[in-house]
Symmetry: D2
Subunit: 387 residues, 4 copies
């Protein structure tokens, strides 16, 4: 068997000082399936080119703007052209870039929250449908093998009928006024409505919470009751979100997300209870999933154990007890995208076991959910319909 060639990718955003761009690149490098061949790594042409040079881009594929990148790609012959573009810019740039590349027929991976408005989201979904391209959204926490095991347990019926679906996501990095002075590039754009969107914490990490719950349970809230709060003086966006949820199935749940939980790091927790048991997963200890059945001892399921589901096993690389973590989970999203791209390039049906990644529709649903959260937060009524 000869090696499949690496998939060629371009990156938009992710230049100097960006946090998440480097994570995407490491995740894509890890398994040897991708190579970076082109980029427009910043909205500043100078910074873009300097960043691209550092990453070893050839001069003729190191662009000052995403428009130049797109134009150049379209000029190139198929065997040189990128297989996908990875969009890791601040949120407000997602929509134009993603739409343009999709409409030009390129496969896309885009960071979350997908776009600012549901109108943009609908437009993008329609464009992807029309173009028939692959479109992944980096809800990276769903790439953790034990999240996939959680999804499996729910879908296999091990928990019975679901009753409670809860996600808590606490960070502390906005507990102090880190945005002052502008040195913290993350804080700078994430707290700016023009670039971040109409929500702050709800978009940055609340969107992960929504997607995590939906991915694991396959259920989407029908009603939300939201309280968004801004604790940091002078901020224009929420830095704390508390949501009660009702599901059409009768299940109840909540999402709480805070970036002012001083001293906490990245404390994302999922808990799902059904008539037969409860599962609990914590992102900071991601190699284990705790399953508390109603009729027997608690079980600690660990990544790599042979009794896990195929979906969880295929998402791991090394034996149990040799922990995998954030970058590996991130890489799993990209591996899912790669499997889909390769299948389409080969003209075959993608294997769902491997082509396992969040899609444009998941991103769009997240955007609509955020809009309903905003509506609820502004309302005097207890419950606001979702979807």
């Amino acid at each position: 068997m000869s090696s499949p060639r690496k998939l060629r990718y371009a990156m938009v955003g992710g230049g100097h000082g960006a946090f998440i761009g480097a994570v995407h690149r490491k995740a894509m490098a890890l398994d040897g399936q991708f190579e970076l061949v082109a980029g427009a790594l910043s909205s500043s042409p100078e910074r873009a080119r300097a960043s691209g040079a550092e990453l070893g881009l050839a001069d003729d594929r190191n662009h000052g703007s995403w428009q130049d990148l797109l134009a150049d790609e379209l000029r190139r012959p198929a065997h040189e052209r990128i297989d996908l573009v990875s969009i890791v810019t601040p949120n407000h740039v997602h929509h134009p870039v993603a739409l343009a590349f999709v409409q030009a027929g390129f496969n896309v991976v885009c960071d979350k929250p997908l776009v600012h408005t549901s109108a943009q989201a609908d437009e993008l979904v329609a464009a992807v449908t029309k173009a028939g391209t692959v479109f992944g959204v980096t809800y990276n926490y769903t790439g953790y093998p034990m999240v996939r095991e959680a999804r499996y347990l729910v879908h296999s019926g091990a928990l019975g009928t679901l009753r409670k679906i809860t996600v808590e996501y606490n960070q502390g990095w906005l507990a102090t006024a880190v945005e002052e002075g502008g040195a913290n590039k993350q804080a700078d754009w994430r707290l700016d409505p023009a670039r971040s969107g109409a929500v702050g914490t709800m978009g940055d990490i609340g969107s992960h919470a929504e997607n995590l719950a939906a991915t694991v349970t396959g259920q989407h809230p029908a009603w939300v009751c939201a309280d968004l709060t801004t604790f940091g003086a002078g901020r224009q966006l929420d830095d704390d979100a508390q949501l009660l949820l009702r599901y059409d199935s009768g299940a109840r749940g909540f999402i709480v997300a805070s970036q002012v939980a001083a001293g906490l790091e990245n404390d994302l927790r999922l808990q799902v209870s059904g008539t037969l048991g409860t599962i609990t997963w914590r992102q900071e200890e991601p190699n284990q999933l705790i399953h508390s059945p109603v009729d027997g001892p608690r079980r600690i399921l660990t990544r790599g154990s042979p009794w896990l589901s195929p979906a969880a096993l295929q998402a791991g690389r090394i034996p149990a007890g040799h922990p995998e973590a954030f970058i590996e989970a991130f890489a799993n999203v990209y591996l899912g995208v790669a499997a889909d791209i390769r299948a389409r390039q080969a003209g075959t049906a993608p294997d769902p076991l491997h082509a396992d990644y969040p899609r444009v529709e998941d991103g769009a649903r997240g955007v609509r959910f955020i809009e309903r959260v905003l509506a609820s937060a502004a309302s005097e009524q207890k419950w606001t319909a979702v979807g």
Copy 2:
């Protein structure tokens, strides 16, 4: 120094098959400060007397009804009379018994939730005020030394200005239809509105959650938005509660309490965040309190460590690393009551360090809070005022 005599107590309720009565007795026995001398241990006279005999009560102090107990005590000379009565009946009996003993001048300890209605609660508070007696409510979780350390940290300013106050309390014992057949005495009365009151889970464990948050933070919610759910088929009371909270200080919070979290045991968690840090405490690992300051490493504070506050240290019995647990915490509530009774008997001011226990006013506030939760749950408005 000669030994202080043991305080004499009577118990109302707590006969055969009761869970919590035996816990009260063990808690009172632990430190050698109390002796059981009288009782009316069941609403059934036969069961009451049989239970009393088993506990070694003298025949003339082993009564078939609390009315007989009260009448008998009033007939006795002071040196024989009980120093306090402990009321551990189902909820609906709390009010008449507590009121009668208070009005007769007896010190009382009563289980939670205190009474069914705020009118009853107000009446009881007024009676206690008039009688000048000691009245403790067994919000036993506040007896844990590390909860007292949590309270100390908040009040000392170690967390700065509070922003988030959250309590989660998940149990799974009502996940299945344990009430069927009537063999589970706990489930039988706790799910019966006539005996349990207008709420189920919200009263049984939600009341603990409210009190724990209030005790540690000294703050009380101004607004509540509640969703109460009944999952168990045929049940008349909620078995799940989700509350969003707003405080006048600007803090936000939530309480979630469930007894259908299948497979979970007694998973009570408190988390409080302020501008300077976050504290986290779990009842199932009660000897430690986790403190995450905003500017340094996480600290695990452990019961018995010499650097704890006096309030936490005086609530412990044995060195750090030798765990104390539920019964010891329960006993601390009684030790607080004992300190107050002894001080009053001696005509001295109680030492607040030792006379540290939840009072009738705390119980009354809990009852009013439950009423506001019910009002919110029945309302279409998002926020219902509390207090």
Copy 3:
């Protein structure tokens, strides 16, 4: 059913300032099965009587010496006489007191290590055999319900053939020179060979380690290779012990015990591996036992769960999730003694489920083991036979 009367006990040692005496009294008080009626609470007659008065002893049963206590008890009629004596003195007093009371026909509970020499131990075992009395040794860690579950798992074959038996017991309280100045009464006598015996840490906590391993596995080491170390300047006894062990069954193991593990509290851990799995228990989190089978997910067994063995269930008082701890485990040793005493008083065979406590033979075996450890530590040969 009428109540069984409380068992009357006397205490030798445990006066002012003693740590462990108060623990014994709380443990005995907890379940209402014992009452303290007599004592000789210190080797100083004045301190003994002052301590007894504080504990409410009647003047005529509050003695200045254990000899007076014994003489007085022998003078009393059976219905007044103590049912047992609890010996909680420094180690060097155990032997004369225990022997005298046994020879006089009294039931005894004695702290560990039992006595200083195997000759003393043999003498005591012979005396107990001759007298036919109950003799318990407070290896209190074996009173933990989850230790009993561990014992059950081993004996039920759940671990297969045992291969590794390891106990680690780390404390830090002797990391600094706490014995200087004499204010630390514990350190004062425990580091004095005349009162503590020929070993320090090996006797104080190493003896617990030996007994815990033996209780859970039913196996006793055949060979030991020991390294005893004294880290604290000027100390005459070891404050650190490291032992390699070989068992006749082919199993291997080790015991390490240290009291200079600075910053650690009471970190006692047991791990036993067999061909089918491994169990792990930590004293600082005593309500859970971790079972890692070779062919399935790790299981967390929790105290009070209905699927535990009868031996573990009967050793608990309250439901799962409501933690029990050190004093409750201690109390379980006394409950075992009480069950045995009551059975003998009733002329019936004790129920082994309830009469579950460490016996004089266990204490004697511990003393012999310590002697072999000392022999090994002094030898140039690698392995020293045990037993």
Copy 4:
């Protein structure tokens, strides 16, 4: 700033079915500093070439033997030639390959245990010294950022004078007869003395334990007392090792390593105590280091926290709370090697902060230690000198 070119590497071993070769490749890919350009991926020429093809090696650099690889490299001009070779074969192949490449002037990374005998080790050290090449040994656990923080804490004096140095390393994968039938390639060669060397578990994971203790403390045992056991029927090598250790500094310690701890995964733990405190690290939860000072609360140090040492911070990629794990730690060893290679290529002194990796001397010390362990295990004398 332009990008530094990727370092070109060849791999010897690591073909189809090998576990560790793939880990090396992922670790080298992660940070974009290396590219695989050549290989001799198996001792079977056919398997070697098939494996190389799968990895995308050009035909003229995809060799059937390491001898061919070496000869070919020597023929190539400098700008094509590999910057280093990574040797990931079974142990018995390490020595000839490493020696040949070093003598030819190539930089080498070699798996552990380095070689079979101390004579081979000495020869290799001498060759490296003579050639002046870079030689790294993949004691990968020392690449964990929190291990580097542990080393920092020891060296900064935070623990005072060291007293106890302990490593436990328990795995369960050899608890059953996985070697039967030959399907488990790992078990097949690791239990074969011809390929694995004179020790089994002691070499495979005991060598990690020795290196971890040495790296963190900077101390090497002066005396060892060892017990090696073979539990698996028919095995020729130990599958369990227990070692007592004495250090010239007066410290004591132990290493226990087992591969028959049924049900355990990769449970490597380090604990170091000094006069001022204790640190504890567990490989299965690698992002935290627990520091228990003698005079204050326990602290949980977490990877990525700004208050860590430069050595720990530079070894991390992403913020605290976003866990890194095994592959990232492995990659850190390679980053250290890369820093050293680049510095030498640039003719500058390597920055010790970045050129932080285990060297040939560390590997040689490990080989000598194993020999002394074997001598001790075979001796009747208690203590065998090391070094």
